[in-house]
């Protein structure tokens, strides 16, 4: 069947199209050329409507152990957000930690067609994929987490060469069915197991004598040399610690020009000035990002209200546990592989610190010049649930709304920010870059994030309301792989997205040392660790999409 979308205003940054009126044709899930005979089976009049490709959330905690702990832990949070079963949709619930089904439906209803789980512990990857398998409509994928795993640290302590590390990274990405690689508090989760309570960029893990700087360099180099499109995804040292902007600046310098993605940068942009010994480092961080073209960031904006923080960084989560609201929390050491910490949290607009966090996030958005290198996230659910994205978009696009909000916050915090003087307003084109084209490019999704011929027909069509929150809450149409899944903001069809992965080559000899390591120290066999393609396909609803590597990858 050939569908024609007639006369929409197309925002397709990948092709430099900024508000270009043109028709789009869809057949068999793809965007195609206009038919030579002009015949179409279905025509949808979208004149005056805003057309973008489906949005991509490149950092959202939607699956895996810590998310499921958060769900189990917070019955009171779900009870206020129960979702009824309909003819089409399963029942579910959730505000801060929604059920998987609800997650998929809500993303689609907001015009999102892909979401990526950024913290897939290799040993827990099977579970992350099970949960993503039960997340409808959107495409998904994960970043495998290394950096505190004992196997890597043993390799580094033994000073093994970069090629060996590349092999291990490639093996891990392949057998955890991952799209990218993440590091969380590099080496710090491991150091916490040895009772270290903080780990600065150049501080050594007491057992391995390895520093976070070295871990970042090794892993970032591995990604470059393997040709994996998504650069190393970094949750840096000292999350949430006042003064951590200096660590972040050092981290940017320390990577020596290699591509690196710094995630939820807001939580890593704090100074120590002022009466509260807590200040914004956003200007310095933004300047460093603007200067260093190898760096990309997502913001991890906080928004006010109840949420839950779920992180692999149990060292920092343990430190933050006294702030738990409600007062309950979990920290875990996990399988000589990683860890996790789940701490519910309520961001309050009359708290100086929380108000300033809100401001720091927005300052970062407004002071980083290049929308291709900054991404719209709340680090769902850590800064706020993903359902608040339309509100966040309005804050970025509407200065008077932003300043009205600002004027209601903690007065001392207002005095500590220049936010009110920042005039920038994001354009629709900017939003299309940071939530579509830029995200697809950053992740190496070859056929997503754009509206050119050959692209997957993931398309979102909006009415151009002046109220951007309303506009982005409720698209007129969402197409997923060419099928209409949302009409007038409501779900009309449930489909199942694919799982995006990379499969870098590795030298099979790595399995010899891995097998011996698993046999000696683990409680699981190497063969049982590996996640087969069949497990992703599962009951037939799942599928794998292997994304191409950059040319020139070694091995």
């Amino acid at each position: 069947m050939l569908t024609k979308l007639t006369g929409g205003r197309v925002f397709d940054p990948e092709h430099g199209q900024n508000d270009v009126v043109r028709d789009i044709y869809i057949r068999d899930g793809r965007i195609v050329d206009a038919p030579s005979d002009g015949k179409v089976d279905q025509e949808i009049d979208v004149r005056g409507k805003v057309i973008m490709s489906g949005a991509i959330d490149m950092h959202t905690h939607i699956g895996g152990g810590k998310v499921n702990i958060a769900r189990t832990m917070l019955p009171e949070d779900h009870a206020e957000a129960l979702i009824e079963r309909t003819e089409l949709m399963r029942s579910g619930c959730g505000h801060a930690a929604p059920s998987t089904l609800t997650t998929g439906y809500r993303y689609a209803e907001m015009g999102y067609t892909a979401g990526f789980e950024p913290a897939v512990l290799p040993i827990n990857a099977r579970q992350a994929h099970m949960e993503m398998h039960d997340t409808p409509i959107i495409d998904k994928g994960g970043y495998a987490m290394l950096g505190s795993d004992d196997f890597l640290l043993r390799m580094m302590a033994a000073n093994e060469d970069q090629e060996a590390i590349n092999n291990y990274v490639a093996w891990t990405l392949t057998h955890t069915q991952a799209l990218g690689l993440k590091v969380v508090n590099p080496g710090g989760i491991n150091a916490f197991k040895f009772n270290q309570r903080k780990l600065d960029l150049d501080e050594k893990n007491t057992f391995y004598n390895v520093s976070p700087r070295e871990i970042l360099q090794r892993l970032a180099r591995a990604m470059t040399e393997l040709g994996v499109p998504h650069p190393l995804h970094v949750h840096g040292c000292n999350l949430g610690v006042p003064g951590n902007k200096d660590t972040t600046l050092d981290t940017i310098q320390g990577i020596e020009g290699l591509p690196m993605h710094l995630t939820h940068i807001q939580f890593h942009s704090y100074g120590t000035e002022g009466d509260f010994k807590f200040s914004s480092g956003a200007a310095e961080i933004a300047e460093a990002i603007n200067r260093n073209k190898n760096i990309t960031v997502d913001v991890g904006q906080i928004l006010f209200g109840q949420t839950v923080t779920a992180s692999g960084d149990n060292m920092r989560q343990f430190a933050g546990a006294p702030h738990a609201h409600p007062n309950k929390w979990v920290c875990m050491d996990i399988e000589c592989d990683a860890g996790c910490g789940v701490v519910p949290f309520k961001y309050k607009d009359q708290s100086f610190v929380n108000a300033l966090q809100w401001m720091i996030g927005l300052e970062t958005f407004l002071m980083v010049d290049d929308p291709w290198r900054i991404f719209l996230t709340t680090d769902h659910p850590n800064g706020a649930p993903f359902t608040s994205y339309p509100h966040l978009i309005k804050l970025l696009m509407d200065k008077s709304f932003r300043n009205d909000m600002l004027s209601t916050l903690h007065p001392e915090a207002q005095n500590a920010t220049h936010l009110a003087s920042l005039d920038r307003e994001y354009s629709l084109y900017d939003i299309a870059i940071m939530t579509r084209a830029g995200a697809a490019k950053l992740l190496g999704l070859a056929d997503r994030g754009h509206l050119g011929v050959g692209a997957a027909a993931d398309i979102t069509i909006y009415t151009d309301h002046a109220d951007r929150e309303r506009m982005f809450s409720s698209p007129d149409y969402v197409f997923k792989d060419g099928q209409i899944v949302v009409k007038n903001g409501e779900l009309v069809k449930v489909t199942w997205g694919t799982t995006h992965v990379v499969k870098p080559e590795y030298d099979a000899s790595i399995e010899k040392s891995l097998k011996s390591y698993f046999d000696k120290y683990h409680t699981m066999k190497l063969g049982n660790f590996k996640i087969s393609d069949d497990e992703i396909i599962d009951d037939g609803r799942g599928s794998l999409t292997v994304q191409p590597l950059h040319k020139g990858g070694k091995l």
């Binding site: 699956g63 769900r71 019955p75 009870a79 059920s99 579970q127 099970m130 409680t523």
Partner: protein
């Protein structure tokens, strides 16, 4: 990977019958006969070796086709005012199908292991905890305190695999690891160190455990305790344990929710968990929750990600409603609230449904016998023997693949429940 050799031998087989899910079993398969050749134990070996007896579904004791049985169950569900899906002894996809069916038919879900599992879940939902996983224990534990639990009775290979491995990753002298049982004495000597050093046992009655733990927590915090003994244990002896917990580099405190069965044991567990948090202000210490056999951890995990809640969730209002007391399956049966019980127990022939006046449907392991023949019985395959699957271990982090070992023709729980849902 479960590599089948030409002689019917499978290696690296995972056991779903025990919560530690050992995955190093060697199993021989000859037709429908399964024999554990290596690394079996008193829990796992019978799990694999229980023979197949029934292959046909029955309605009121009469053999019927699977299609007839499925249609009959769908009819019962369509007419039921309050169905309960109980037992829940199944794997990942069985749990998925049960949740989908519950949502569709407005049933309530509960597991046969919930009384034990909720002793921990209630703590998670009230104050949380700090825990660790099996491989961490294997490599790091230097002091293991076992509370009120005879571990080897239900986890026969726990000590061999987690406490007394040949070597640790961090050069620890394995034999120097110290094990103390508080409350219950172990039934065997699995906890004895490789050099023959027996574990220390400090016995008390289970009824005294809440008080003993309270005093231990006070001592760990450095409080003065006036009493000289508690539950028959000299306070000075507990002070030594408190000191060891504070001195250990990586202490682990372990218990089984099944074996801590005193009234409101969750409060005792909560006290242990809060004590662990306090110890972590200076050194490292973690809880290790033992349990999780036969899909226990799996069904709570699947329920949590699909509905937001663990077991004991009702769909009667078309939304998930969670209540750990009202939705306790046995309570609902006892109070006559259930008119249809669908009981799933695919791992264990002993996991039979409770006696009830409610119409009963059983998806059970072949060989299950009943005091009272259920209205419908469907012998289903065992995940990890008759069909592939996945199951979670007790630490709820690691899940393992279960492989198909034989071609019995028995349907999976997923197949049956999905067919029922489609027939509604």
């Amino acid at each position: 990977m479960t590599d089948k050799q030409s002689d019917g031998i499978f290696y690296d087989v995972v056991s779903p019958f025990c919560g530690i899910a050992s995955d190093d079993l060697v199993v021989q398969v000859d037709g429908n006969t399964v024999t554990v050749k290596e690394n079996g134990d008193s829990v796992t070996t019978p799990g694999f070796e229980t023979p197949i007896t029934d292959l046909s579904p029955r309605i009121n004791g009469q053999e019927v086709s699977l299609e007839q049985a499925v249609k009959h169950i769908a009819g019962l569900l369509n007419n039921s005012k309050q169905p309960l899906i109980g037992g829940m002894g199944t794997d990942l996809n069985g749990a998925r199908a049960a949740m989908a069916l519950a949502d569709h038919s407005r049933a309530t879900v509960d597991s046969q292991f919930s009384d034990a599992a909720f002793r921990n879940i209630l703590v998670l939902q009230d104050t949380g905890y700090m825990t660790t996983t099996l491989t961490e224990v294997r490599n790091r534990v230097d002091f293991l305190l076992v509370v009120g639990t005879d571990i080897e009775l239900t986890f026969p290979r726990f000590f061999e695999r987690m406490v007394w491995p040949k070597e640790s990753m961090f050069g620890q002298d394995i034999d120097s690891r110290e094990v103390v049982f508080l409350g219950k004495k172990p039934s065997g000597n699995a906890s004895t160190s490789p050099s023959g050093r027996a574990a220390q046992v400090i016995e008390c009655s289970e009824a005294d455990l809440p008080e003993v733990i309270s005093v231990l927590r006070a001592l760990v915090k450095g409080k003065n305790v006036q009493a000289e003994s508690v539950g028959g244990i000299p306070v000075s002896e507990l002070a030594v344990i408190a000191d060891k917990l504070n001195q250990a580099k990586y202490g682990v405190i372990s218990w089984s929710g099944t074996q801590l069965s005193h009234a409101h044991a969750e409060v005792t567990i909560q006290n242990i968990c809060e004590m662990i948090k306090e110890i972590n202000n200076t050194t490292r210490c973690n809880g290790l929750l033992l349990g999780g056999k036969e899909g226990d951890t799996t069904v709570n995990a699947v329920s949590a990600w699909q509905s937001g809640y663990p077991m004991r969730t009702a769909f009667s209002r078309n939304v998930p409603d969670y209540d750990p007391y009202l939705n306790r399956g046995q309570r609902m049966l006892d109070d006559g609230e259930v008119d249809l019980l669908i009981w799933v127990s695919s791992f264990n022939t002993a996991g039979t449904p409770p006696k009830t006046d409610a119409t009963t449907v059983v998806l059970g392991r072949s060989g299950m016998t009943f005091e009272q023949e259920p209205e419908v019985f469907i012998p289903v395959g065992v995940p990890g023997i008759d069909h592939a699957g996945r199951t979670f271990r007790c630490d709820s982090v690691v899940s393992v693949p279960l492989k198909k070992l034989r071609d019995s023709g028995l349907p999976s729980t997923f197949d049956v429940l999905t067919a029922v849902e489609q027939a509604l």
